[in-house]
């Protein structure tokens, strides 16, 4: 069988020679002189035949790859994806593997020749920008769009079902479906949002909701602070009452009582703590604040600030009424009508609707243009204005009519979907620029996860946005805008998987440091770090190894870094090589661990997938599982993991994954530095897929920096998926190559990746859908 494969390869190569000889009729018999231009025969075939095909042949296509398929020049066109993969593996140094001859000069020659041929071929091919499926706004985009459209704070994350994700992101058009449940939610949300924006509906009778320690409804954050999650049912003013049992010493000073909502201070008040002299047996007092609260679920925290008094108390005295006055409950009473109108009213009612139909039409047209993110037609306006008539027919006011029209807009497909139109929707050869307003929306949902603002929308409408200088200027303006922090919240938190901080559950016994504050601190560090690299246009190498990070006291303590005090985050210079870059950040290390222990497999896979862009193939059907649970107890983890190397099926991937995971073993399952794992010392030696070895996390980072081109490509691909809302197709390869090449030439400044994606054909163009073939293929599969 083996020889048959060889024969076939030879047969192919004969045709290759024939083809080659046609073009060089002059001296077919002579060997070409050494200086002759390389050909497929001289630059490609020898390496494939002599080195690669030993493992990659038609009998044992290791890794599902058969090199003999690539022995003819025609394969450059017919096996394009395969060739792209070969070049990637060779460039990354992953192939040929260790233990196999590695003729670097031949490899370089092959890469250069093949790349040249592919480029030549590409120059003659019409570019394929791909096609993005109509894209439903996901939860974050919905919430941000409502904020920017109406100035209403709506928590879609709380009210809508989770959006499914694909390719690691939750903004993929094909995956974002609509279910009846979601439609109900959209209907209900539209009703509430429109009502809140116009604020013309009467408020219900006030009610009081109590959160008290006796009912286990508050969380004691520390001796001076309590926390409760409360759903505010209506926008309005509320009386917030604080329950304060106990009393302090006769000479105790008053303290400052602060109230925060979702991490923001909303009100403060000085509070007396010494005995009042009125009640002796069961001292108790209440304090009250009147505050304006937005509808939705909010986390409220109340605390005494700079409360030195409790520092002198033992743990039992803190909640003893005789020795301390402490926060024990919080009551929300309301809603009451606010003194001022909400800002959304001015945003919507741009003239006085009672002045007549002209103004009503103006209001509706303005709202629709922004909600649909494009110019609206007279017919559309007329249809919407009918709702005002309908409300009036039911005896409601003109304002309530506008509210109803707004409600209708918010469930229209024109609002809920980003739809791009094709002149020829079913002709895949019909490549065309997307319209100006479509481009404006692509840009705003990429950089802001929200709708275009007025400036961007107007440039889209006038068509000026497509001018390269104008487009670049808009990208700059938008990156400088605070809204671009959406890239940290939505791109980075999914790329680095730190969104999973919400679902991971480190064991509180084994990791007593773990609590909601630490979790939020971890999230903040990675978020601030990403924002800094983005805003400061730092080199992308900073992601792999940076001499700075962002810490507050709690996180600095976890890292063992001194001199950082207080809850605020600040930029901190790193003086040792224990930390640096995202792979040493607690958020990343926590989401890539189990609840009780680290996992070299998960972390190794993480590095391959999120950093190097070469996710391992899925495990065999029935993985022989490893005993990671016994880590640090019976045999060292490394000894156990050697099992992975013993079985060749496992070895092909685990020989790449495990050594990367070991490089991070100095960090425990919540990212704390350690030198011992149970009773065994941590051994952090390992190897990168390109063969570079390391013996500590610091050295591993340095080795990763040497693979910067590969990392940059990985990030560009992920950014591209996120920017387009679709998976990467082979036809995007050239665009990505070009972007990575230009990034390299400039030293990989991060913002350039964003500018380049925006300038690219896949971002600015689309084509019709390939219909027939796709269906035929599906039928054939069945």
């Amino acid at each position: 069988m083996r020889s048959a494969g060889r024969d076939w390869a030879v047969a192919v190569s004969v045709t290759g020679i024939l083809a080659a000889s046609v073009s060089s009729l002059a001296a077919p018999q002579q060997r070409p002189p050494a200086s002759a231009a390389p050909t497929f025969e001289t630059a490609v075939k020898p390496l494939l035949q002599n080195v690669c095909s030993d493992c990659h042949n038609s009998q044992s296509a290791s890794g599902g790859f058969d090199a003999t398929v690539f022995l003819a020049p025609a394969s450059l066109a017919s096996q394009r994806e395969g060739w792209d993969a070969i070049l990637r593996k060779l460039r990354a140094g992953e192939m040929p593997p260790q233990g196999v001859p590695h003729p670097q000069a031949q490899i370089d020659a092959l890469v250069k020749y093949v790349q040249g041929e592919l480029d030549k071929a590409d120059r003659n091919v019409k570019p394929d920008p791909g096609r993005v499926t109509a894209h439903r706004l996901n939860r974050n985009e919905y919430a941000n769009t409502i904020r920017d459209l109406l100035d209403v704070d709506f928590r879609a994350q709380k009210d809508f079902p989770t959006d499914d994700s694909g390719e690691g992101f939750d903004n993929i058009g094909d995956i974002l479906t609509i279910s009846p449940v979601l439609m109900e939610k959209y209907m209900a949300a539209a009703e509430r949002i429109a009502s809140r924006a116009i604020a013309a509906d009467p408020l219900p009778k006030p009610v009081a909701v109590e959160y008290a320690n006796k009912d286990r409804r508050i969380r004691r954050v520390d001796a001076s602070t309590i926390e409760a999650t409360h759903r505010v049912d209506f926008d309005g003013e509320y009386n917030v009452r604080f329950e304060l049992p106990g009393q302090r010493a006769a000479d105790a000073k008053p303290v400052m009582l602060d109230l925060w909502m979702d991490g923001k201070l909303i009100s403060s008040k000085m509070v007396e703590t010494k005995p009042s002299g009125l009640v002796y047996f069961d001292p108790y007092s209440e304090e009250e604040m009147r505050v304006l609260l937005p509808e939705g679920d909010h986390v409220f925290r109340a605390g005494f600030i700079n409360d030195d008094f409790v520092k002198g108390l033992g743990p039992k005295q803190v909640y003893d009424k005789k020795s301390n006055k402490y926060l024990d409950g919080i009551v929300f009473e309301g809603p009451f009508k606010p003194k001022a109108e909400p800002p959304s009213r001015a945003r919507v009612l741009i003239c006085d609707p009672k002045s007549g139909p002209a103004c009503v039409e103006k209001i509706v047209a303005n709202l629709a243009r922004h909600a649909y993110r494009r110019p609206v037609t007279q017919t559309e306006i007329a249809e919407l204005v009918k709702f005002v008539g309908l409300a009036e027919a039911h005896g409601q006011s003109v304002e309530q009519g506008i509210q109803l029209a707004l409600q209708a807009m918010l469930v229209s497909p024109n609002f809920l979907f980003r739809i791009e139109h094709d002149p020829n929707p079913t002709d895949p050869a019909a490549v065309h620029n997307i319209s100006g307003v479509e481009l404006a929306s692509r840009l705003s949902y990429f950089l802001w996860s929200s709708m275009p603002d007025d400036e961007l929308l107007s440039l889209g409408e006038s068509g000026k946005l497509r001018t390269p200088a104008v487009l670049d200027a808009q990208v700059k303006r938008m990156l400088d805008d605070p809204r671009s922090s959406a890239l940290a919240d939505n791109f980075a938190a999914q790329w680095l998987e730190t969104r999973n901080l919400d679902v991971v559950k480190p064991d509180p016994q084994k990791f007593p440091d773990w609590n909601p504050e630490l979790r939020e601190a971890m999230r903040s560090e990675t978020n601030l770090f990403f924002n800094y690299v983005l805003r400061q246009n730092r080199p992308m190498a900073d992601f792999l190894d940076a001499r700075y990070t962002f810490l507050n006291e709690r996180l600095a303590k976890l890292y063992g870094i001194e001199g950082v005090t207080g809850p605020e985050f600040r930029k901190v210079d790193l003086t040792t090589d224990q930390r640096g870059g995202v792979l040493s950040q607690a958020a990343v290390l926590t989401v890539s661990s189990y609840s009780l222990r680290t996992s070299v497999v998960i972390r190794g896979k993480y590095v391959l997938q999120e950093i190097l862009g070469t996710p391992p193939s899925p495990p065999p059907v029935t993985p022989p599982p490893l005993d990671e649970a016994a880590e640090g107890t019976s045999a060292s983890l490394r000894q156990q993991m050697e099992v992975h190397r013993a079985d060749p099926t496992c070895a092909s991937c685990h020989s790449k994954m495990d050594p990367l995971g070991f490089g991070l073993e100095n960090y425990d399952a919540i990212g704390k530095w350690r030198t011992m794992d149970g009773k065994f010392p941590v051994d952090a030696t390992g190897t990168l897929p390109n063969g570079k070895t390391f013996s500590s996390p610091g050295e591993m980072r340095a080795a990763l920096v040497s693979a910067l081109p590969q990392f940059a490509r990985c990030v560009v691909e992920k950014l591209m998926i996120y920017a387009l809302g679709r998976g990467i197709a082979p036809s995007d390869g050239r665009t990505i190559d070009g972007i990575v090449g230009r990034l390299a030439a400039q030293g990989y400044p991060f913002q350039t990746a964003i500018y380049e994606i925006v300038r690219s054909a896949p971002f600015q163009m689309r084509r019709g859908e390939l219909v027939e073939t796709k269906n035929v293929k599906e039928v054939a599969q069945k």
Binding site: D164, I175, R231, V591, L596, P618
Partner: protein, 449 residues
């Protein structure tokens, strides 16, 4: 996500539930429900699936005997009080959960195929399963109840990264599929489920309610027209997206109609829950309490309950297990890990048992609510350590108004398709299908009695 989760105001909630249990809601609603057919209404039949992931310790699940149920193995011990109401089904297999030619990803695959009977497409982008059996029934009964079906769950979806070896998270996040590309996400938050079933608590006057209904209808008409205008210039994939949108719109329309005919706001006699309880049992109780009320009040007849997701690594600190569920199930025969999985399995059946208690103590037309139900409790894997897809642990609870003889264990021929059960259940629910998934025929209920 919230920083902490508010615990429920438990005492007042329990008080509320006490009242609800005592009140046969369906009976109370009859006058409003059906003018002319009042009292003659026969209690409807309901179908529910409750799913647990990562397989079960089968040694502790399967009794050594067939026929009449006597003493039950450890995992099923909590169900002993209900053994007269259980039919244990042995040897049911989901061949489509197996790799066939698709390689790794048993968790993603078995979850995707559990109710669809389809070998789902291995993809992270363009998902494709099939219409699930619960949705076939839901469509058939759509004009009978306010909600054709309810999808309920307890575990928040993973939000980043992939779920299982090249399978989209959509396969593990959802059990019910309305079309081959449209999964139905489960409701996880008790408040959200409460508001869906019983409204937001604001009681409207009849005039205001009529006005709201008129508004909603006009809005739905309007967006329907909008969609038609859009569709003209779209390619097939985009059009499919808008079709999903239109289907959902129509369903909301039907709900509005149903609400008007029923003309009643249901008072669940329970306090609106706030937040997701951190405690598993408390969350389970809330969700199943509401499912029970929804059945009782005939708000729906079809429920899927994804207790936790396939592949979940949730620890069970409630019973002192700090390791994740999934890593434990790859126990390699180690007794201490098998013990932990057994405890998790048993903890689940303990919650189930409490739910069945409630279904039995809820009266309906002189019988018990459970008597008009088919509640299937099961998993998409039997042995989670080895990812086995045969002899799936399956309980049929309730006797479908006397159609199923319970109190027994029946072991079928090896490799009997799980889809045979689906086919039989759909038949009981009034949907007569020739084929479903890889079914070879109905699991005959006649044979079972």
């Amino acid at each position: 996500m919230t920083i902490t989760r508010k615990t429920l105001h438990r005492r007042s909630f329990l008080r509320g539930m006490g009242a609800a249990i005592g009140l046969p809601l369906l009976d109370a609603m009859v006058p409003a429900l059906a003018i002319g057919q009042a009292r003659a209404v026969k209690a409807p039949l309901r179908m529910a699936f409750a799913y647990v992931p990562n397989g079960i310790i089968m040694n502790e699940w399967n009794p050594a005997y067939e026929g009449k149920l006597g003493e039950l193995p450890r995992v099923l011990k909590p169900m002993e009080p209900h053994r007269d109401d259980i039919l244990m089904l042995g040897n049911l297999t989901h061949n489509t959960g197996r790799a066939l030619l698709d390689g790794a990803g048993d968790h993603g695959r078995c979850s995707g195929s559990y109710l669809t009977g389809i070998q789902v497409k291995k993809t992270t982008v363009d998902i494709k399963a099939g219409v699930s059996c619960d949705q076939i029934v839901a469509k058939h009964l759509a004009d009978q109840t306010r909600f054709p079906s309810l999808e309920v769950g307890m575990e928040d979806a993973r939000q980043a990264g992939d779920c299982d070896s090249g399978y989209s998270c959509a396969y593990t996040n959802n059990l019910s599929w309305k079309s081959e590309t449209q999964p139905l996400p489960p409701i996880l938050d008790p408040r959200s489920l409460f508001e869906r079933l019983f409204g937001n608590g604001v009681i409207l006057s009849p005039e205001a309610r009529a006005r709201e209904a008129d508004y909603r209808r006009s809005i739905l008409d309007f967006v329907g027209e909008d969609t038609k205008r859009l569709e003209a210039s779209l390619g097939p994939t985009d059009r499919r997206k808008l079709d999903e949108y239109l289907t959902s719109i129509r369903e909301v329309e039907r709900q509005i109609e149903r609400t008007e005919t029923a003309n009643a706001q249901i008072d669940p006699h329970m306090e609106k829950p706030y937040g997701i309880p951190a405690d598993f049992a408390e969350h389970f109780k809330l969700m199943t309490d509401m499912i029970t009320i929804a059945f009782q009040a005939d708000l729906t007849r079809v429920v899927t309950f994804l207790i936790t997701r396939e592949g979940t690594s949730r620890p069970y600190r409630e019973i002192g297990i700090a390791d994740g569920h999934h890593p434990c199930t790859h126990h390699q025969g180690k007794p201490e890990l098998i013990e932990k999985v057994t405890q998790i399995n048993t903890y689940h059946t303990t919650q189930l048992s409490a739910w069945v208690d409630k279904l039995k103590s809820t009266p309906e037309g002189g019988a018990r609510l459970l008597d008009n139900m088919m509640l299937v409790y099961g998993a998409g894997l039997s042995d989670g350590n080895r990812h086995l897809h045969e002899d799936l642990p399956t309980l049929m609870i309730g006797n479908a108004a006397g159609a199923i003889k319970t109190g027994r264990r029946v072991v079928y021929r090896k490799e009997t398709p799980m889809c045979n059960l689906h086919l039989a259940m759909m038949d009981r629910m009034g949907v007569h299908m020739e084929h479903f998934g890889d079914a070879t025929g109905e699991l005959s209920f006649a044979e079972l009695t």
